[in-house]
């Protein structure tokens, strides 16, 4: 057990699984000697060599498309996309090809592979680097779309993702890469990401998020506690598939719910959660479900991003309204 940040936990998971399973190979831009633009693969090239930690041409479609072929050959590729916004360059490969391979071949072939990519704002990146587009992949039936919020989950969910027979889009919280720290066992454990995780218990309101938004929700919960409002905070961990039972139970226990995410409001994944709760938890709801999200506008340049991001203040305000609502 040691204290790690999220990047270190990811690197630890990659190294652990590469040592345990020589089918596992890494593909990406600048991931070799350089160790990746965020150093997620630092040291792995030295340890495992250029045949397993592979610098790829600058072409997201070819990284994902060839990873699918590599998976079909019997290897276990883990592809890094430098920023999730650039996974749009491979959208057709991910959504039409990787996600559907098992289904369209009636189970003969499976794209057992992982696509890792950081996403989210707040770190003053250039244009397009901060876009939270995870929900754009959440309609890709056949794909799993997951997003850890802390180092323990990052390692355990990544190990589970690499061992998963189905393709997993592993969305990493860019904002918390180095700042969020926690205890991480040195063993090779897995986290069952199909289950939402209640990271804080409270009786008055339920805050729901994933990735960085969970940490925003946790800080909001602390602020609310000073006002006597006790919040449950749920980390859904997985957008696709969604743990309906887990979120319904967490909302039924309080009757009030605020959903937090970075992507714009319209057609964001909060809409899916809200509609599901409106059907499944209807009789326990005591106030309208609120969503605290990015506005319906493109992600701005860095100088304006703090206004864009769903911050603690907005979550607290929404939670207060919801907690008082009838």
């Amino acid at each position: 057990m040691s204290v790690m940040n999220i990047l270190e936990a990811i690197r630890d998971a990659l190294g652990t699984e590469m040592a345990a399973d020589d089918r596992v190979i890494l593909l990406g831009q600048d991931i070799g000697k350089f160790g990746g633009i965020f150093r997620a693969t630092d040291g792995l090239y030295a340890q495992f060599g250029g045949e397993r930690v592979i610098d790829m041409p600058l072409a997201e479609g070819a990284i994902i498309g060839s990873a699918l072929g590599l998976a079909l050959s019997g290897l276990r590729p883990v592809a890094e996309i430098q920023f999730l916004g650039f996974a749009r360059q491979a959208f057709h490969q991910i959504v039409s090809q990787v996600a559907r391979m098992r289904h369209r071949s009636r189970g003969r072939f499976a794209a057992s592979m992982v696509i890792r990519a950081p996403f989210g704002g707040g770190v003053r990146t250039p244009e397009l680097h901060s876009d939270a587009v995870e929900c754009q992949f959440a309609q890709a039936q056949g794909l799993k779309v997951i997003a850890p919020s802390n180092p323990y989950d990052a390692k355990g969910m990544l190990l589970a993702a690499i061992r998963d027979p189905d393709p997993v889009l592993f969305c990493e919280p860019l904002h918390g890469y180095r700042s969020i720290k926690g205890d991480v066992p040195s063993s090779a454990y897995t986290v069952d990401f199909s289950k939402a995780n209640v990271v804080r218990q409270g009786n008055d309101i339920t805050l729901i998020g994933w990735s960085s938004a969970v940490n925003v929700a946790l800080r909001a919960a602390e602020a609310l506690a000073t006002e006597g409002i006790e919040a449950t905070v749920v980390d859904i961990r997985s957008l696709l598939p969604l743990d309906v039972g887990g979120i319904v139970a967490a909302v039924e226990s309080t009757g009030r719910c605020v959903i937090v995410h970075e992507a714009p409001l319209t057609a964001g994944f909060g809409a899916e959660i809200a509609a599901t709760l409106a059907r499944e938890a209807f009789y326990s709801l005591q106030a309208p479900i609120e969503r605290v999200t990015g506005p319906d506008a493109p992600y701005p340049l860095a100088g304006a991003e703090q206004m864009y991001l769903p911050g603690v203040d907005r979550v607290v305000a929404a939670a207060r309204r919801t907690a008082q609502g009838q």
């Binding site: 039409s96 071949s105 499976a110």
Partner: protein, 369 residues
């Protein structure tokens, strides 16, 4: 003073002549002394596959017109291109990554004909490739299969196998970004892959001249660091010889080859198309004269291996094969609601399981939450 022209790769000159080994009249290109790359027996099996393909196109089109088969893309005119390339592979170790217009190659590689029929009848079971058959499913998203083929070839090589992957695609597909990305990557990693471009003159109604300003498609290969070849795609022997050379090179670790097979689509893009709107009848006639099947039949007739009675017997056998495959496909039970969900993931998700129950008990089943 005028600005001097600085250009180290000037674009000029005539297009290269395609490799040809068998003339339209069925004689060998080099004259009687040249040795064909296939013996008579191999040519007879190739011819059988080519004729099967042609007969399937006829039968499928007629059934489609009667509403008894779905829309599919005929091979008509491209039989030498498809069969000659497929026969250069070893189905026991090499893979084919198809587009959708390669029926006889798939059959030769081990796909049951009824699978193809099921697929184009719209039955989900048609997507299944039997275990041990080294084929990926048919690709509908143009060019998307190209990077898969590169990854597959590269991965097999990384695992120490001497397998080669041949990927089919069209002249239209070569304009997609996936073509560029796949060729570029294949060159970098020296993947044992053969990019087999069937230049059939058309992408639906878009002529080859609207896809590229290059004289040939094959000449792009050196830009990716590997060789390109142009073959007469209506010449079974030339296609076979060029593909076999590429297979040997790939197997020996020499990396990829881009083969442009110059052929012609003798008919519609698919059964929903009307080529009379854009193809001139004279052009079609000139290609009908170069029919790839006639060419092989003429050669074999001159060798005393083909005549009317052998042809009639082959036709009979082929129509029985096709009828039996359609009958087998018709005998498959229609899809169920379960087929909608099965194999999306290794296991049904809870939500999928609930949705399936709703199909099965529409009145009382749980809602789709």
């Amino acid at each position: 003073m005028s600005t001097p022209v600085i250009s180290q790769f000037p674009y000029r000159g005539d297009p290269v002549a395609p490799v040809r080994l068998l003339e339209v009249d069925g004689t060998l290109t080099g004259g009687g002394g040249s040795v064909p790359p296939m013996d008579d027996e191999q040519m007879l099996s190739a011819l059988w596959l080519m004729m099967l393909s042609r007969a399937f196109d006829d039968k499928g089109t007629s059934l489609q017109r009667q509403g008894r088969f779905g829309t599919f893309s005929a091979v008509r005119g491209q039989e030498a291109s498809v069969v000659g390339s497929a026969l250069a592979l070893d189905p026991a170790r090499d893979w084919i990554v198809p587009q959708y217009r390669e029926l006889p190659a798939l059959v030769n590689h081990g796909l049951p004909l009824e699978s193809f029929i099921l697929y184009f009848s719209g039955h989900p079971a048609g997507g299944y490739i039997p275990e041990g058959v080294r084929l990926l499913p048919i690709q509908i998203s143009i060019a998307a299969q190209l990077p898969h083929a590169v990854g597959l070839a590269w991965g097999l090589r990384l695992q120490g196998l001497d397998a080669v992957v041949l990927v089919y695609f069209g002249d239209g597909a070569s304009s997609e970004g996936d073509f560029h990305e796949a060729c570029n990557l294949a060159g970098v990693v020296k993947a044992p892959v053969i990019f087999f471009l069937q230049n059939n003159g058309w992408a639906i109604s878009t002529p080859r001249s609207r896809q590229t300003a290059a004289r040939t498609f094959a000449e792009r290969a050196p830009g990716y660091g590997f060789d390109g070849v142009v073959v007469d795609g209506n010449d079974l022997l030339a296609v076979y010889a060029a593909t076999r050379a590429a297979v040997e090179r790939a197997r020996a670790g020499g990396g990829p080859t881009l083969i442009e097979s110059q052929t012609y689509r003798l008919g519609a893009h698919n059964t929903a198309d009307d080529p009379t709107r854009y193809v001139a009848e004279e052009v079609l006639d000139s290609w009908r004269d170069r029919d790839p099947i006639l060419r092989v039949q003429r050669y074999l007739a001159a060798c005393g291996r083909w005549n009317e009675s052998i042809a009639a017997k082959a036709q009979e056998e082929i129509s029985q094969t096709i009828d039996a495959a359609f009958a087998a496909a018709r005998a498959v039970a229609p899809p169920t609601a379960e087929d909608l969900f099965l194999h999306t993931y290794a296991e049904l998700t809870e939500r999928q399981a609930r949705q399936l129950r709703e199909y099965e008990m529409p009145a009382t089943g749980p809602a789709n939450g």
